[in-house]
């Protein structure tokens, strides 16, 4: 009958040999993984290659300064983000006070502000010539700088303040989730056993949330190490600035790479801390389901304190700078539009879109290749190539620069030798180099979300599709892609926005005279012409808000009792 006709319709099954790992997926993933891992490997190799004279010179002069400044910055930002992030997370998760629902997501807004933008804004406001000091002078009748003391914004302390203001949301979002995940029972038990809210917080809630806090802080510190705009503007001698200085001003790539190697030590310790934190996080997840938390209803001065504690970070980290940017943009609107704004905006958008597209494609390819055949070597390589998110842009830039330079030179030599043609520096100093840099740095974002989305699809789905006669490509197209569409889109947006904000990689790798919004803002701010660049800065912040909106939706959904998780609320 029908069945027989159907089964004899197809030709006898062709047969493949045992070397089935030799397919486009495994080989492709190995090649792509190797290319993406190349810059980081390059830096490591150079760092461990016996150095020339410059190294001892650096070690005896600037290295101690770099180390102490970087450490100071990290400790400052670490403490600052923990205090603000954990404090506001506790208020938003466990307490009841007016405006709580607003603050729950508004506390994320500073995430949209790149540290360098906020640094320019506050310098604008707090400088000697800025409005604050001017008003103070007018009120008190001072006429010169020497008659009064005012904190210097362009200092290590200033850099700590700027970065804390925009990076605390990392700690906030993770510790809030951790507080919400804690079983109410644990806290109630603590109360019943005679501990007050404060002691319960310190003896139960905080230790349980510690792994999440550790992850949040290490992410914030990775961003701190990555920062270039702020420290450059404030002339705070961190490693990132040092790398830039040694490479551009001393014209010494090897020295820059060796500095980058030392910086990698910091990064690797952060990665280890983060991984350990994540591992323990799994262990610490006590209750699986969200329950409506009882929450402490705050009254009197406590209520006022809670509101102030939430208003300050949002106000200083987002509202005030945004208002300044808007007012500057209006004042300098004509000048800003004159100055090739559209060209730079277009550069930014095109470059970021291209990078986002590439990152998503490569991310899907690698994640699916791992799903098809997760050999151990491939797994390690892919993990390694997605380390970029932790590695500061300046370090990656050096890695990209050196490895592309090697590639260009060998290609040139080969072409000259075989065909008598010179290809010159084919990729170095081109938009391709910048895009590659973005890909290396942000691949982890897209790979991570694609991998997480794929993990939610049971392998039986693959089995079903395959047994129904669809090969790996068609299965990907007809089953997986439709199912992970939303995550892929989210990943693309995240990468896009991060590329829009990206500064250190772009500054080093961009072609001569090529500007993105970020480099444009940086250059104008460095030239004390921040007013003209405000519109561009505002545009960057505008794009930065997109993922914050997405995150705040997630926050609203995770709110205890919402979305039918508790049904009756």
């Amino acid at each position: 009958m029908n069945t027989v006709a159907l089964s004899s319709a197809t030709a006898p099954a062709p047969v493949r040999t045992r070397l089935s790992w030799l397919n486009v997926w495994t080989i492709g993933a190995l090649i792509v993984g190797a290319i993406v891992a190349l810059p980081i490997i390059t830096v490591i190799v150079i760092a461990f290659t016996p150095g020339d004279d410059i190294w001892s010179h650096l070690a005896s002069t600037v290295l101690p300064v770099y180390i102490s400044t970087t450490l100071t910055l990290m400790i400052g930002v670490g403490v600052g983000t923990i205090v603000i992030g954990v404090g506001t997370a506790w208020l938003a998760a466990m307490c009841r006070f007016p405006g709580k629902r607003l603050f729950e997501w508004a506390l994320l807004l500073p995430l949209a502000m790149p540290a360098y933008v906020i640094a320019y804004v506050y310098t604008d406001i707090l400088d000697y010539a800025g409005p604050v000091q001017t008003v103070l002078r007018e009120i008190f009748g001072w006429t010169t700088r020497h008659e009064y003391w005012f904190p210097e914004i362009r200092s290590t302390g200033g850099a700590v303040a700027m970065m804390t203001l925009v990076l605390y949301p990392y700690v906030y979002i993770l510790s809030r989730a951790a507080f919400l995940e804690q079983s109410v029972g644990v806290l109630e038990a603590s109360r019943i056993l005679g501990r007050g809210p404060w002691r319960s917080f310190f003896s139960v809630a905080l230790p349980l949330a510690r792994p999440a806090i550790v992850v949040g802080v290490s992410l914030a510190l990775m961003e701190t190490l990555n920062d270039f705009g702020t420290v450059d503007f404030f002339a705070v001698s961190t490693f990132t600035l040092g790398i830039y200085d040694v490479w551009l001003n001393m014209n010494n790539v090897a020295g820059a790479a060796q500095l980058a190697g030392v910086l990698l030590v910091f990064v690797i310790s952060l990665i280890v801390i983060e991984r350990l934190g994540r591992r323990r996080q799994k262990f610490h997840n006590v209750g699986g389901t969200y329950k409506a938390l009882p929450g402490y209803t705050l009254t009197g001065w406590r209520r006022v304190f809670a509101i102030v504690a939430c208003v300050l970070p949002v106000g200083m980290g987002f509202v005030l700078p945004a208002l300044v940017l808007i007012s500057n943009s209006i004042t300098y609107f004509d000048a800003a539009l004159d100055s090739k704004f559209y060209q730079y905006a277009l550069n930014s958008v095109l470059l970021s879109s291209l990078a986002a597209l590439l990152a998503v494609l490569v991310g899907i390819f690698l994640a699916y290749a791992l799903r098809l055949k997760g050999g151990r070597f491939l797994k390690i390589l892919v993990r390694f190539s997605s380390l970029g998110y932790a590695v500061p842009g300046s370090v990656l830039a050096v890695g990209v620069l050196v490895s592309l330079g090697k590639f260009d030179n060998s290609l040139d030599a080969f072409m000259r030798h075989s065909f008598g043609l010179s290809t010159g520096l084919l990729l170095s100093g081109t938009v391709a180099a910048v895009t590659f840099g973005y890909l290396v740095r942000f691949l982890a974002l897209s790979f991570g979300s694609v991998e997480a989305a794929l993990e939610k699809i049971t392998p039986n789905m693959d089995g079903a599709a395959r047994s129904l006669g669809h090969g790996p490509w068609r299965t990907l197209g007809r089953v997986h892609l439709p199912l992970i569409r939303a995550s892929v889109l989210t990943a693309a947006i995240l990468v896009f926005v991060d590329c829009m904000k990206e500064l250190p990689l772009t500054v080093i790798l961009r072609p001569f005279n090529f500007h993105t919004l970020a480099t444009f803002v940086h250059q104008y701010a460095s030239d004390e012409q921040f007013g003209e660049a405000s519109l561009a800065a505002l545009a960057i912040v505008g794009f930065g808000i997109i993922p914050v909106i997405a995150l705040s939706f997630a926050i609203t959904r995770s709110r205890p009792g919402s979305n039918g998780q508790e049904g009756t609320q």
């Binding site: 029908n2 197809t10 493949r16 045992r18 049971t458 079903a464 006669g469 090969g471």
Partner: protein, 379 residues
């Protein structure tokens, strides 16, 4: 020969060997159940047959075509098999009808639609074609998954715990329907389950699997139940009464009476396993032992009773007895228990098989063929 033929298959995950030299045969048109506890490797064997897992050692042959050995691997999409998972794995983004036409590769649209409709009608889901899987109940999803697996007309159907996702009230009905559809399709089917009752109900032939995929016994449901060749097989179907003893003159003496020891040598220590329904309670004193009732639990059609020996040789233990639900212990006194040899099985002490089974090497190929020949002769 037609159907599925697996032999000499060994498989390890890292250092953990889950299958050791396993053989298996599913003749065309038959439904074979692979019955075993979780972790015995039965699902792995299914995945190897499907091609979801690369074969490390041995051979898989489907309808006379070798599809896998250690140098050869035909990917699942070229094996023309149907596969149904415990979680059904319906594509959540596709409507019921699109799920079923999914596997009709290379067929023109109209034809594929007709074929899918035909299959959906057969499983009684013809009027749900525009729904998405999440709108269906577990039983409905199961039927769609079955239609989807059968639609391309596979030469072999593999079912992985197809009913374990259903609640008990529904399971019996769906099981019956599935069996009807499978019989109509006449496709060679290998079904994996850990539920003995399910295997008894569905299977033409049952293969009981022990550790590392060792086939402890293969046979018709009747044989598995009435002639277990292994203590493990005998214990599959619920509570057992166990009495240790020694073979004397080809018989073992139990408190309830004497049982034939079959091929076991005189003087060997043995365990006698008696099903609860294998102990009869009467007021006839001659063959048995006097017992008193400890407790009685009504299970529905019958009752499970715990009795204790009031006298007897040494071990005055407790035993389980299954009686009809209308049995009233108050009506007979004194109560005597005696054994029904049909429900009593004798095994060498220490858990080995009663008969010297062929070496594991032959367990698959030779042993299998032998039993097939016997079966065909009987039919």
């Amino acid at each position: 020969m037609k159907g599925l033929h697996i032999y000499g298959v060994s498989h390890s995950y890292g250092d953990n060997q889950v299958l050791r030299n396993v053989g298996l045969l599913v003749p065309a048109g038959e439904l074979v159940c692979l019955l075993g506890p979780s972790g015995c490797g039965k699902s792995t064997l299914l995945r190897l047959a499907a091609g979801l897992e690369p074969l490390q050692q041995g051979s898989v042959i489907i309808n006379d075509v070798e599809v896998a050995n250690k140098d050869l691997f035909v990917p699942p999409e070229r094996r023309r098999i149907g596969l149904m998972f415990q979680d059904y794995a319906l594509f959540p983004h596709l409507k019921v009808i699109d799920n079923v036409t999914f596997g009709l590769v290379g067929m023109d649209k109209k034809q594929a639609h007709e074929r899918a409709m035909d299959m959906l009608d057969q499983v009684g889901m013809g009027h749900h074609i525009d729904k998405h899987p999440h709108m269906l109940s577990g039983g409905q999803q199961q039927r769609v998954a079955l239609a989807r697996a059968l639609a391309p007309g596979p030469e072999l159907l593999l079912l992985d715990e197809p009913f374990s996702g259903l609640d008990t009230s529904m399971r019996a009905r769906i099981r019956e329907q599935t069996l009807d559809v499978l019989k109509r399709a006449g496709v060679a089917t290998l079904m994996v389950t850990h539920d003995p009752e399910e295997a008894m109900f569905m299977a033409d032939r049952i293969k009981v699997m022990g550790e590392q995929g060792r086939i402890l016994q293969a046979g018709r449901p009747h044989e598995i139940f009435y002639h277990p060749k292994h203590e493990f097989v005998a214990r599959l179907f619920g509570i057992m009464n166990s009495v240790d003893g020694v073979v004397i003159d080809g018989h073992v003496t139990t408190p309830f009476g004497s049982v034939s020891a079959g091929a076991i040598n005189d003087g060997d220590e043995v365990t006698v396993l008696v099903r609860p329904e294998g102990i009869h309670l009467t007021d006839d004193q001659t063959p048995g032992v006097s017992v008193e009732v400890q407790s009685m639990h009504l299970l529905g059609h019958d009752s499970l009773m715990r009795v204790r020996m009031t006298e007897g040789p040494g071990n005055a233990g407790e035993f389980h007895v299954r009686v009809h639900n209308e049995f009233d212990p108050a009506l007979i006194y004194p109560i005597h228990a005696h054994i029904d040899p049909e429900y009593a099985f004798v095994f060498p002490l220490g858990g080995g098989p009663i008969f010297d089974e062929p070496d594991v090497l032959d367990d698959g190929a030779a042993g299998e063929n032998l039993s097939i020949n016997q079966d065909t002769a009987a039919e």
